[in-house]
């Protein structure tokens, strides 16, 4: 009875980790080559594109996670105030989450079309010139500082405008899921706490910051860690939106500014057949996600009160 599940999980989800490590120690292109020990890891750490992919992924997580969480928590908290049309709002907020990520990315690519996208039309309304969005490799801070004349330090470029467009898509896609989970968390806070606070004369702001937020901390923490892990594993919107074949832009473009870790690994396998090196690069991704997961387990045991 145990055999079918254990066999599948063992062969395709457990063993491959060790196989990946084995592959990463070899010079492996299509066929297995010589044993090179940690040469692939060193090559990765000395490679500019590898670091760029790490920075891109970090930007992706740094933007999508906090923004999605703040917006989702705000909307969930407002929905919780016994509003009318609760069902309607919840249905609309949840729609993006049940939309396939490829179709969603296709629609947002069209919204951000450099020729005549609706995003450019919106910018036009507020008096900003058209942007090339998904084909724009320049950093957001560079563009902002050029546009407003506010000086910036030379080293500060920020994520490319293309990356910003992709993060907006990701935020849109995950909002509904987080709202639903926050609503569950809000519903689990006992009413007596609110009443007690009210009796003691607490104002709305105090109630929110002294009761709602602390009582919600397990939910907030879990969503945060899971979203960060998801951000490091993100693939579909980045792959679909960054590939602009009509201008010859490959996955991770323009100029590699949207090449996140998973896309980087894919490009090693797909374009270059560099299996050994790709496996080594993927090992770094695994270590980051492992560290985040262990951190989550450790903190939930120590700090979060259930």
């Amino acid at each position: 009875m145990l055999a079918p599940a254990m066999l599948i999980i063992g062969v395709f989800h457990f063993y491959p980790l060790f196989y990946a490590f084995y592959i990463s120690l070899h010079n492996w292109r299509i066929r297995k080559g010589s044993l090179v020990w940690f040469e692939n890891y060193r090559t990765a750490l000395e490679n500019k594109d590898f670091w760029q992919s790490f920075i891109n992924t970090t930007w992706f997580a740094l933007i999508t996670v906090p923004v999605t969480m703040v917006v989702a928590l705000t909307l969930a908290y407002l929905l919780f105030q016994k509003v009318k049309f609760l069902g309607l709002f919840r249905t609309i907020y949840f729609l993006p989450y049940v939309t396939s990520a490829v179709a969603a990315a296709a629609v947002w690519s069209w919204v951000f079309s450099s020729r005549n996208g609706i995003a450019n039309e919106l910018l036009d309304v507020i008096g900003i010139g058209p942007q090339t969005w998904l084909q724009q490799p320049r950093g957001i801070f560079v563009l902002l500082s050029d546009g407003t004349g506010i000086p910036r330090p030379d080293w500060l470029h920020g994520p490319s405008l293309a990356m910003i467009a992709i993060t907006i898509t990701q935020i849109w896609h995950n909002l509904g899921f987080q709202i639903v989970v926050f609503l569950v968390g809000l519903g689990a806070i006992s009413k007596e706490l609110y009443e007690a606070a009210r009796v003691d004369g607490a104002g709305e702001r105090q109630v929110f910051f002294r009761i709602t937020l602390p009582m919600l901390s397990p939910t907030i923490f879990l969503i945060a860690v899971i979203s960060i892990i998801d951000a490091f594993k993100a693939f579909t919107p980045i792959y679909v939106m960054s590939t602009q074949s009509n201008v010859g832009q490959r996955p991770g473009g323009p100029l590699g500014t949207t090449e996140t870790s998973v896309v980087y690994v894919l490009n090693q396998i797909y374009g270059a057949n560099r299996y050994g090196y790709g496996a080594a690069a993927a090992m770094f991704l695994f270590l980051i996600i492992l560290a985040l997961t262990l951190f989550q387990l450790w903190v939930s045991r120590k700090w979060v009160k259930y």
Binding site: M1, L2, P4, M6, I8, F12, H13, F14, Y15, P16, L17, A20, I23, T74, Y77, Q81, F89, T91, I92, L95, V98, T99, S100, A101, V102, A103, A104, A106, V107, W110, V111, S113, R115, N116, I118, W172, V180, V181, R198, E204, V207, L222, I226, D230, K233, F235, Y239, V240, S245, S261, V265, L266, I269, A279, A282, M283, L285, F286, I289, L294
Partner: protein, 299 residues
């Protein structure tokens, strides 16, 4: 953050008093409430507008979508875009593939998970705890990190570019086993004792005692494995090479990348790709939301 009036929550005020107040004050302007609805509406517009824009664009002519400034409302609804998009790529084939793959995976996951969960919950064997812990540890291995070995293994097994490769790795799920084990553990012990006294073995207990009580967990697990399989892109992308076995997501992404100059067709294709899932969502919205809530945070 300016948030609304918790103070005004109805359950804190006796019903009679509310009715009384309502009679005396037909309308009371509360700025807090207005702000709440304003923010909620802005959020709703952000969530809904891509759908509206997708549908509007899908009904425009080629000239309208390529016009600058952009056309906001199609002159007349060109429904023929849908049939044109449908015929521009083998979408019928893509859908058939996806329903087949997702269907087999949903049934497969339910069966393998139920069997394994029953063993972990009800049958003691030496090392059970250790095996279960190992199983849970696999949750920490992201599939994205094992792409290379899985790709090489699929090649070595000589199932590259086959349905086997698209299905087999996914017909078992640690998360589903975990969820179902929790549900089985919550079944009262008396039920098992009664069944054992009646002479039932494990197979009959599983069929007649456990299975009828597992509708909820099976539904939740099915929703998730269906969504995951329907949405998967990375795996089909690396292990298929021919159009004939492509699932819809991969088919759509190829179509999107190949035909960037026909946005009206891309939007029509996106619309009919989204439609089945939205239909299921509207029909089974309660199960969807409860599934998310009950299975907690599995994204």
């Amino acid at each position: 953050m300016r948030v609304g009036t918790l103070r005004g929550r109805p359950e804190e005020i006796p019903h009679a008093a509310v009715a009384d107040a309502a009679r005396r004050l037909p309308f009371r302007f509360r700025p807090g409430r207005v702000v709440i609805y304003l923010v909620l509406t802005v959020g709703a517009i952000f969530c809904a507008f891509p759908f509206v824009w997708m549908v509007l664009s899908s009904l425009m002519t080629r000239e309208e979508v390529n016009a600058f400034p952009p056309t906001l409302w199609p002159g007349e609804f060109r429904w023929s875009n849908y049939s044109e998009a449908w015929n521009s790529a083998p979408f019928a084939r893509y859908f058939l593939n996806t329903f087949f793959i997702a269907g087999v995976i949903v049934v497969g996951v339910a069966i393998t998970s139920l069997l394994a969960a029953y063993v972990f919950a009800r049958i003691d064997f030496p090392g059970r705890g250790a095996v279960f812990a190992m199983l849970l540890a696999t949750l920490m291995i992201p599939f994205e990190a094992t792409l290379v070995p899985n790709f090489i293994m699929i090649r070595n097994l000589q199932i590259y570019n086959t349905y086997y490769a698209l299905i087999i790795p996914w017909i078992a799920s640690v998360f589903s086993i975990f969820l179902m084990r929790q549900s089985i553990l919550s079944i009262p012990e008396e039920l098992f004792e009664a069944a054992t006294l009646d002479g039932c073995g494990h197979v009959r207990i599983l069929r007649h005692v456990v299975l009828p009580l597992m509708r909820g967990p099976i539904a939740a697990v099915s929703v998730f494995s269906f969504l995951a399989s329907w949405n998967s892109l990375l795996w089909p992308l690396i292990i298929t090479s021919s159009e004939g076995i492509r699932p819809i997501q991969l088919g759509l992404s190829v179509f999107v990348h190949a035909d960037a100059n026909e946005p009206q067709l891309l939007m029509a294709a996106s619309a009919f790709t989204i439609a089945p899932l939205l239909a299921i969502y509207f029909l089974a919205q309660r199960q969807f939301l409860e599934g998310i809530a009950s299975t907690g945070l599995k994204g």
